[in-house]
């Protein structure tokens, strides 16, 4: 995981002067990636355990929060949300979403090497496409500077320099 991130992310730190990314910020993107994929997996296990819910009993969806798998999924997704909001405060939505999509690759590789499931050629191609997409987006600038945001950013940088 770290190796893939290093391979796809480190070149952008040196090739783009407009990138606002630092190593701790890449760690936050990694947290977004892992908590989202694990949280979704836990939720899907919990949803299957609940059984079918008809349109006439939508209130049963609220009872879903008593299922342990769904509780664990929600806890992980709260961690995802905190790190996702942090990432959105210093990077564009169209940077954060593709950059954190490596979670799909992590799940596929876990199923191959941990659960010993067979990965078809389609899935390997899928992994290739996602990794390529992550590589493309992380080599570019992470933040679109608008006029007011630029002033705020400069003020923040000046203050952080004076604090250090």
């Amino acid at each position: 995981m770290l190796a893939v991130f290093t391979y796809t992310c480190l070149p952008s730190m040196t090739s783009s002067s407009k990138s606002t990314m630092t190593f701790p910020r890449y760690l936050i993107l990694a947290t977004v990636t892992l908590t989202a994929s694990l949280g979704d997996t836990f939720l899907s296990v919990g949803a299957k355990q609940l059984g079918p819910i008809s349109l006439g009993h939508v209130d049963q969806l609220f009872a879903a929060v008593l299922n342990p798998w769904i509780v664990a999924g929600i806890v992980l997704l709260i961690g995802f949300f905190a790190s996702y909001l942090t990432a959105l405060s210093w990077a564009d939505l169209t940077y954060v979403l593709p950059a954190s999509s490596l979670g799909y690759v992590v799940i596929a590789l876990l199923s191959k090497f941990w659960l010993h499931e067979q990965l078809s050629l389609y899935r390997w191609l899928g992994i290739l496409f996602i990794t390529a997409g992550v590589g493309f987006v992380t080599r570019g600038p992470s933040f679109t500077e608008h006029a007011p945001a630029t002033e705020e950013l400069n003020a923040a940088e000046t203050e952080s320099v004076s604090h250090s």
Partner: protein, 131 residues
């Protein structure tokens, strides 16, 4: 057309509900975070509680959370009636594309060829993972 036997609803409409609400939630949340500013700076000035207060006091953020909650229940509902291998990749891959459009038009983000290509690559990749 693929129709859920339990609800009579087309599966496509379930996926569309997830995509629309997820995109609205992402765009509103991203817009709120851009308006609030760098959370690292706010936390340095006002502490963690100050950062949390700044986020939850934003009406756009609350609107985004409402849309995300709707998306969450739409996903839970869809997972209950259709296969995860169809719902998850279809909604996730389509959300990447809809988010790219929404970010360009609503957030005025610089969605250049690099980012468009990245969104398309991830969209195709997620769809291929379902096979």
């Amino acid at each position: 057309m693929n129709i859920s036997l339990a609800t009579g609803l087309p599966v496509a409409s379930m996926i569309a509900s997830i995509v629309v609400t997820a995109t609205a939630g992402d765009v509103l949340t991203a817009s709120a975070m851009r308006k609030i500013g760098d959370l690292d700076v706010i936390r340095a000035h006002s502490g963690l509680l100050g950062a949390i207060r700044a986020v939850i006091a934003s009406p756009r953020f609350l609107g985004g959370v409402l849309c995300m909650a709707l998306s969450f229940f739409a996903l839970l509902f869809a997972l209950n009636h259709a296969d995860l291998s169809l719902i998850a990749p279809a909604s996730a891959s389509l959300t990447f594309v809809s988010n790219a459009f929404a970010a360009k038009f609503f957030l005025k983000e610089n969605v250049d060829r690099r980012r468009a290509l990245a969104a398309i690559c991830v969209c195709i990749g997620v769809a291929l993972l379902a096979h």
